[in-house]
């Protein structure tokens, strides 16, 4: 273990911003729930009504966890934060372990370190301590923030401690994953799957078969029943899980060669399939994983919004701020809520559209474009291939979120017409979504270094939507967000003029970007 402390010090130095951002993010996840629940319901009667409507909502339980003591702030915080908090510490642990073990090994830097006076176990042990410490920091901050709110001390500590231990379990499983494959990406794939399976097991378990919940570390964490009859013994399960997985990882490590994984790398096809032909085939091949991921994610998110059904009134409560946020000027709360949901889903879909529109830049900066353009492939055809994938992908992603919303709503309310009611208006948001994608093409068309600025319009749109009136932003600034112009269906009737206008703007900016790209130097 010689050199462990030296390595740990350099790891901590490299990770300092990682620590700061994860700690702030996860602490806010918990703390903001307390604040928002407190602000949302003006009276306990309202709170009880909301709790009652959540208590029986299967979709919510599957998403968040067992519904316990939902008429208390602590109960709400536990319910709304623990599952996602556990996923967050799981991801954090996975990235910390990955970047200091498998990624170093894959890049060959590990070899350089091992050539120094460093024990065989030192790099792994330093990475382990790094991840354990990060989880401890997060847990302490979560516990301290909740206790200072103030919520009950013991229960706040339990939420923090459980979170830390949950992160330790995922540290152990990530460490095992790092021994299995030679590639960092596959390692993240395996470790991420473990977290996903843990989440799904407890979801199924919480809805119907409690035995499954006890197979998942997230289930153990929630089994501590913070703020609803606290019990400490599930923490021992977490501790045992962390110890067993970590020891297993060390055992596997002792039996493998440095640089290799236990599982042999799977060979790919030696010939290109018929689809990998021409610019569109290539663009689709490169982007399909992202299209599929965003489609699935937004479908689930739509499902979650839709499954709230008509209980919006109970959930939202009567306080003025929440009414303002959800009503968006509409007189009917349910319509207002779904108009807002459509807007939010389409803003999230911009995440796909912008990252997809920046994909050509990634190809250029990765040095792969040079080889392509030295063939008979035209610049404009190459870019058009990616543009086509972005446009069609945006349509698919929006369709999926509209379907999710409609299906969720129909399942809860029994109104099967809901799919039509949500799908078409959501599809009309393709126009503002593509305006933001077109801005990305224009920026990259002018100069690939400007690409990162493509996220600025999305930030503006989000700020305008949530805080536009609150911050009293000037109207011209609000009008800059393309999302401010469409009719808020179903709270308002659909209007063609703004949709067509935005579509024309998107087309014009996109063409300008493609013309600019055709005229500049390739990097």
């Amino acid at each position: 273990m010689t050199g462990t402390w030296l390595l740990l010090r350099t790891f901590l130095r490299r990770d300092r911003w990682l620590y700061v951002s994860w700690t702030i993010g996860i602490t806010l996840l918990y703390y903001s729930q307390a604040v928002s629940v407190d602000g949302l319901y003006a009276t306990q009667a309202e709170f009880d009504r909301a709790a009652a409507s959540m208590d029986n909502n299967v979709a919510f339980i599957a998403m968040a966890g067992p519904a316990r003591a939902l008429d208390t702030i602590g109960g709400q915080v536990t319910w709304q934060s623990t599952a996602f908090g556990a996923i967050c510490v799981g991801l954090m642990s996975m990235f910390i372990i990955g970047r200091h073990t498998r990624a170093e090994e894959e890049s060959g830097r590990d070899e350089l370190v091992r050539a120094a006076a460093i024990g065989r176990l030192a790099p792994m042990t330093a990475a382990l301590k790094d991840a354990l410490l990060a989880n401890l920091v997060v847990g302490v901050f979560v516990a301290a923030s909740l206790a200072s709110y103030p919520l009950e001390l013991a229960d706040s500590i339990a939420l923090g401690l459980g979170l830390t231990l949950c992160g330790w379990v995922f540290t152990g499983t990530a460490l095992i994953a790092a021994q299995l494959t030679a590639s960092t990406r596959s390692m993240y794939g395996i470790a991420g799957t473990v977290i996903g399976v843990a989440y799904v097991l407890r979801a199924i378990g919480d809805v119907g078969s409690p035995a499954l919940t006890w197979l998942s570390p997230i289930g153990w964490y929630q089994g501590m029943h913070a703020f609803s009859g606290l019990r400490w013994w599930p923490a021992l399960l977490l501790l045992a899980g962390a110890a067993v997985s970590t020891l297993a990882a060390y055992a596997v490590f002792q039996r493998r060669d440095i640089g290799s994984g236990v599982l042999a790398a799977r060979p790919g096809p030696d010939r290109a399939g018929a689809g990998l032909r021409g610019p569109l085939g290539l663009a689709w091949h490169l982007q399909r994983a992202s299209v599929i991921g965003w489609t699935a994610g937004l479908f689930l998110m739509g499902l979650a919004y839709g499954s709230i059904g008509n209980d919006v009134g109970d959930l939202v409560g009567d306080s003025e701020t929440s009414q303002d946020l959800f009503l968006q000027g509409s007189s009917d709360l349910v319509d207002g809520f779904y108009a807002t949901s459509l807007l939010m889903l389409s803003l999230i879909a911009c995440g796909f559209a912008i990252s997809s529109a920046l994909r050509p830049r990634g190809e250029e900066e990765g040095g792969r474009l040079e080889s392509l353009l030295a063939t008979a492939l035209r610049r404009r055809d190459w870019l058009l291939g990616h543009v086509t994938v972005t446009v069609l992908g945006a349509l698919v992603v929006l369709t999926a979120s509209g379907l999710g919303l409609g299906v969720g709503y129909a399942l809860v309310t029994g109104e099967s017409g809901a799919v039509d009611q949500f799908l078409l208006p959501l599809l009309s948001y393709v126009a503002p979504v593509l305006v933001l994608a077109a801005v990305a093409w224009l920026l990259v068309g002018l100069n690939p270094r400007l690409g990162t600025l493509a996220w600025v319009p999305l930030v503006l749109a989000v700020v305008v939507m949530f805080f536009g009136d609150l911050l009293q932003l000037p109207q011209w600034l609000q009008d800059l967000s393309p999302f401010e112009h469409l009719a808020l269906v179903p709270a308002e009737d659909f209007r063609w003029a703004p949709f067509v206008g935005l579509a024309v703007v998107a087309a014009a900016i996109s063409i300008a970007g493609q013309v600019a790209f055709a005229r500049r130097d390739i990097r």
Binding site: G367, L372, A374
Partner: protein
């Protein structure tokens, strides 16, 4: 080969003609009035130290960069305007090959081949075997040398009449370099043309008919290797039976160090005979000779005063 007909129809001149090419990046003048002509059927060495503008020239030639001024003709056409059409007739291997992390080498070869308008299946299989390339590995898991092999297989299995190679062997081991040289020779035997950029003089000497040497974006020498012989000196170190004092009198011997029965010196090509005779007379026990490196050549002939040389005798030949 079908392509030959097209060649004789639409242009008879040199495949690559560059005159007075200027390319600036902001304040940096990367190419400063560069001249380069590559004749049909020759392997043309494009030599220069790192950062001298070789890659920039090639990227202008491929229509990736836009020239500021000067003439650039590729197969008689404009490489910026007609890039795609002209590229059907050439294959390019970049100096730093980047592959798609989630495409296998085989997929990348096929993709590039298809985009170029087809590749020779037989040669593809043969090249993969000769280069000992595993085409089923993903791009991200290839070493630099293997990435280069992927690009070389894609380029050498294409039915084209011009190869543009930017330091193509910098990651290859000597065995694979020999395979590469064999295929370049074959390509030339078919009457095709190669532009080979390199900073390794030995590689250029082995393969090239003519050479252009550039420095700081300007051509400093151009001609056949025989023409450039005057530039090359050989380093010799020898262990002898007696001190070879006679070496001191030879005019073409430089930097001579004699320590007892050992001698180290550099000799110009014209003085090799005389120097070896002298050594033999002293009785040779062991002898090593080293060809000059490009770096030495530059240091010796152009030194720090490269700009002065250019002004006094612009483009020596």
């Amino acid at each position: 080969m079908g392509t030959v007909e097209i060649v004789t129809n639409d242009d008879r001149g040199a495949p690559i003609e560059i005159g007075g090419l200027v390319k600036t990046f902001g304040k940096v003048r990367a190419l400063d009035g560069l001249d380069l002509t590559v004749e049909r059927g020759e392997v043309h060495g494009f030599l220069g130290p790192n950062g001298s503008g070789k890659s920039t020239t090639i990227r202008v030639l491929l229509g990736l960069l836009r020239k500021d001024s000067g003439e650039v003709r590729l197969f008689g056409g404009d490489p910026w305007r007609d890039a795609a059409e002209l590229h059907r007739r050439l294959a390019y291997v970049p100096g730093d090959v980047n592959l798609w992390p989630n495409l296998t080498g085989g997929q990348a070869i096929d993709l590039l081949g298809r985009l170029r308008g087809g590749l020779d299946e037989k040669r593809r299989a043969e090249l993969i075997e000769r280069f000992e390339l595993d085409p089923t590995k993903k791009g991200r898991s290839y070493s630099k040398g293997n990435r280069q092999k992927v690009a070389l297989v894609a380029a050498l299995s294409a039915d084209v009449e011009l190869l543009v190679l930017d330091e193509p062997t910098s990651g290859l081991d000597p065995l694979m370099e020999a395979v590469f040289q064999e295929y370049v020779d074959r390509f030339r035997e078919q009457g095709h043309t190669v532009l080979l950029s390199s900073h390794i003089l030995a590689e250029v000497e082995r393969l090239c008919d003519r050479v252009t040497i550039i420095r700081s974006g300007t051509r400093v020498e151009s001609g056949t290797l025989a023409d450039l012989r005057h530039l090359t000196r050989t380093s010799i170190s020898a262990e002898l039976a007696s001190p070879p004092e006679a070496l001191r009198t030879l005019p073409d011997v430089h930097d001579l160090v004699i320590e007892g029965n050992r001698a180290r010196f550099e000799v110009e090509t014209t003085g090799l005979d005389a120097a070896l005779d002298t050594l033999q007379a002293a009785g040779v026990r062991s002898l090593t000779s080293q060809p000059p490196t490009l770096e030495e050549l530059f240091l010796r002939h152009y030194g720090d005063r490269i700009e002065d040389v250019d002004e006094q005798e612009p483009v020596a030949r």
